[in-house]
Each structure stands twice: as C-alpha cells, then as structure tokens.
C-alpha cells in the first residue's frame, strides 16, 4: 500500500510539468488569439497603443512558466507565424516566427537557471526580451529582406519599459488563472 502510494506520488508529474493540465489548452489558445487580434484591433480602439506587444508578452510568460525550451520555442513559432500572416504583404511570412521562436527558447532557458517568480526579475526580462525582439526583427529586415527601416533605440527603450510595466499585472492575472485551475 505504501509502495503503491509512493509510486503514485513519484509518477505524478511535477508542478511545472502539469502546466497544461491546469492552464487549459483552450484557455491558452483563446488568450493567444485575443492577444493577436488585440494587436490587430487595439490601435483602432485605443489610439497610440501600437507599442503594446501582447503576443510577445504571452510568449515570454509561456517560456518563463513552462520552463521547457522545446514547448516554448514551438509556442513562440506559432504566435510569430500567426502574426506574420496578418503582417503587410511586403513582409514575407517567417520574420516574426523566427524572432519569437528565439524569444520563447531563451525565456525558457533563463527560467531554468533563475527564479523567475520575482516581479523584479520578470520586469527586467520583459524589458530585455522586448528590446531583443525589436532589434533582432530590425536586423532581419535589413539583412534578409534588404529593407532600410529606421531603428530608434530611445523609442524602443521607452516601449520596452512600458511593455515591462504592463507585463507585471498581466502575468499576475495569468498566474491567478493558473492557480484557479488547480483549485
């Protein structure tokens, strides 16, 4: 009896590995769709919100919470390709896909080594990943597509800071949703 209980406890997936069981797949898909459509529609509803990168924040959150690089990079690729499909026809599909794949992978890799539950760490990571995302996308447009597009570091810093500030309550809400799933 004791051995059976021990086996059950040992075979139970760890808390972080059972992410999908608590954070429902449907809920995740719905939030992802909302984030992508939000980026599509929010600037029409609320002017001057083009800087808000909800899909990126969702990718970072997934990577930090899931802590599985493979899942995170696949999730990032899915989100990025979805965004690419709504991007201007002058930009080929795959630009955001590659960028967000890397973001998801690095976010999951960082979460393995650091305690990413702290809001301060999350703030810094979100700011860093936003800057990395913007810079890498700009580099790819210049290098792969040969498009001369401007890159304003100051503006990117400000937008990164704003996204990091938005990420804190957003992550807290997503955490609560995850916890409510366990109850």
């Amino acid at each position: 009896m004791i051995n059976e209980t021990s086996d059950t406890l040992l075979n139970r997936p760890p808390l972080r590995d059972s992410w999908f069981s608590r954070f429902e797949v449907l809920a995740l898909a719905a939030i992802t769709v909302v984030a992508i459509i939000g980026k599509f529609y929010l600037p029409r509803l609320i002017p001057h919100t083009e800087w808000l990168e909800l899909p990126l924040l969702l990718t970072v959150y997934f990577g930090l919470t899931r802590r599985n690089p493979v899942s995170a990079l696949l999730f990032g690729a899915f989100v990025g390709l979805s965004e690419d499909s709504l991007s201007p026809a002058t930009i080929p599909i795959g630009m955001y896909g590659i960028t967000k794949t890397l973001v998801g992978y690095f976010a999951a890799s960082v979460s393995v080594r650091f305690n990413v539950e702290s809001p301060a760490i999350r703030l810094v990571l979100c700011f860093f990943f936003f800057f990395f995302h913007a810079f890498f996308y700009w580099v790819m447009r210049r290098a792969l597509l040969g498009q001369i597009v401007p890159f304003d570091p100051q503006e990117t810093f400000v937008h990164g800071a704003l996204n990091a500030v938005i990420a804190l309550p957003l992550f807290a809400i997503l955490d609560r949703m995850k916890l409510s799933g366990t109850a």
Partner: protein, 417 residues
Amino acid sequence: MEALLSRYRNLTVLLVVVVAQLLYLAYQVKTNRDERLIRVWAVTAVTPMAGIVEAVRHNTIGFLEDYFILLDVREQNRKLKADNDHLRMENTYYRNQLSTAEHARALTLFQAQSPSKTVAARVIGNSTVATAKAVFIDRGSTSNIDKGMAVVTPEGIVGKVVAVYPLVSQVLLVTDPTFKVGVESQKGHIHGVLDCGTGKCTVQEIQNEDKVDVGEQFYTSGEDRIFPRGFPVGTVVSAVPGQGMKDIKLNLSGAPGGAEQVLVVLKGVHQAIPNAPPEETTAAMLPVPPPETGDDVASSSKPQTEADKIVQKYGVIGKEEGHVYGAVGSGIPNFNLKPAADAPQPAPARTGGTETAAAPSILGSRAVIAPAKAKPAPVTPANAPELILPLGTPRRKPAAPAVPLGTQTPSPPPAAP
C-alpha cells in the same frame, strides 16, 4: 549521434525550427511570391472578429452617445462629413481643371480628362507589425479592389493596396519606411521622391540648385504609377541645401495614420498641377463693413415700435437738458418739453431769432418753446440762464453740462389740470 541529439535536444529542435522558417523565408524572397493561402486564412479568420468588435463598440458606446447625448447628431455629422469629403474631392478636381483652363491646351485637356473613379472604404484594423504602417479596409476584391491601387482622402494621399482579399484589403501607408511616392513641386514643377522612412517626411532627389520655397505645395507626379498626377501631398516646412541634394521636409496634407474613411482610386485620372494652392472658401464674400461711429448709430437707428419712439424721445430730451439717465445727482428732466426733432415747423421767430415757438400739440395747452435748430446759440457757463423748474424738482449741479435751450426759456407748461 543519437546520444548527441538527445543531449542537445532543445538546441536541435531550435535549429530545426529556425532553419525551416529561414528556408521558407528564402523561398518567398527568391520566388517573390506572397503566400496567399496562409494570409487569406488568417485575414478571413480575424477580420470578421474585428468587424464584430467594431460593430459592438459602435452599437453600444455609439448608441448611448447618439440617442441619449446627441440624439442623431453624430449620425448626421458622419453623413455630412462623408458628403463633404466627396464634394471637396470633386471640388479639388474641378478647381484643378479650372486653373489649367488658362493654358493653351486647357480646353482639350479638360474635355479629355474625366474624374477618377473611386470607392469609399472604412479602416477596420491595423497591421500586427508595429514598425510597418499598414491598415485594413473593409473593401476587397468583391468591390473591384485590385492590388496596387492608390488610396487617398480629399486632404491628401494615404497609401496603396498591397493585398486584396474577398472582403477586405490591406493598405500600406505612405508613412511606411519602405514606401516611396513620386512628387512634383507646384511652382517649379521639380520632381522628387517622398520618403517618410525616418519618421519625418522628406522629399529626396532634388538638387541644391533647384528652387523650392517654404510653404510651397507638393503634388503627386504620377511617375510612381500608383497615384494619379495632381493629388495634394503636403506643404514644404523647411528647404535647406544639403550634401549634393536639397534637404526638404514636408508636412503631409492628409493624415494617413488617422484616416477613418478613405477612397480607393479604382480608375485614376491624371490632373495638371494647379498654379495656386487649393482654397477652402468658394463663395464670394463682401468686404468687411466700416467701423460704426456714434453718429451713424444714432442716425441709422430708426424706431420701430411706439416704445422705441418714446425711448428715442426721452433720449433726445435728456440730451437737450443735459440729463444723464441713471447718474447720481442728475436732475429729473422735463419730459413735457417737445424735443427739437419732433418740433413742428418753426413759428415766427421772436426777437433775436434764437427761439421758436412750437404749436401746442394738445388743444388748450400752452405753446412750448423749443430750441432753435437753425442757429443754436453758443451756450457758455456765463450766458447760460438758470432754468425755471417745477416745484419739487431738485436743482441741477453747477457742473452739469449746459442745456441746449434758448436764452429765454419760459416755464414749462403745467401739468394737465
């Protein structure tokens, strides 16, 4: 090998995914072909949702504003604005045509050209790329929209259609870094290239020797084969010589990013660049009236009612007796006196010729002596006689202005018995 892959499983998956996407990207760039199927699926899936959100927003917030706050003023305003935009568009076209009528071949040009055929569209969504300036409009291939068509507003150019789907189209705005527009200056007809890639719109490829003034208008030149010639682009805000080329900054006349309603040019018609900038006012206006003076006001005011006549009469009496209505210390004027203006034709003058006797207006009453109109005697404090006022009338202060009465003023007629 297997052990190596299992050890670096994460990195391997990352490389596979990234390389796969890179190859797919390279395929698209190499073949210069847009992956239409994926985009059609995505846009078809997203745009109805955006339309629903827009409809919900319009029917909830808009309903409250329309019916509880402004009733239907907003709807009327929207309709009038749309009509106004359309009329301004036509007006701009006809104005351009009329301005070219002075030239030799203007008539032939006017007859040969016809207005651009346009279709109105509404902006329903933005692009997902923050750095790329693109919007979605609610007109697609079912409305005969085609790729490469120009999108304008009556104020100026907006962008071009880069992708067409059945019900929506994607418009790349002129403010996108990759978008260039051929432009032409109004005065010197100098050709250049509009570039808004750096955040501020500039006109490039113009030599330092070319003359471009601040405030000059730029129009589309039609050389980009997208925008028909003659559409307003913007006004020059600064033009300074640069290294080889002139540094010209332009203020766009339209607002591509903030446009709600746009016009897609289905069939563009090139127009001539107008000689004068388009004016907003079309109706002829009279010159400003001259400033009013006190005399003009007094002479032009004509009593309309009996009350006006009484007020005017009392005003004249007060002026004649030096009375200021409402002033402290100013005595009560004698309202029984006939004002000079109302006095009938002068009776035979008395000695001195400075007084005229007015016939009594009421039968049996005494004649009233009114001041002479023809020759008013100069009244000075020295020769001003003291008025004989009715009993109980407060005495006028010495500093009060002189009354324009005659030197021998009889006592006013007593009150009616």
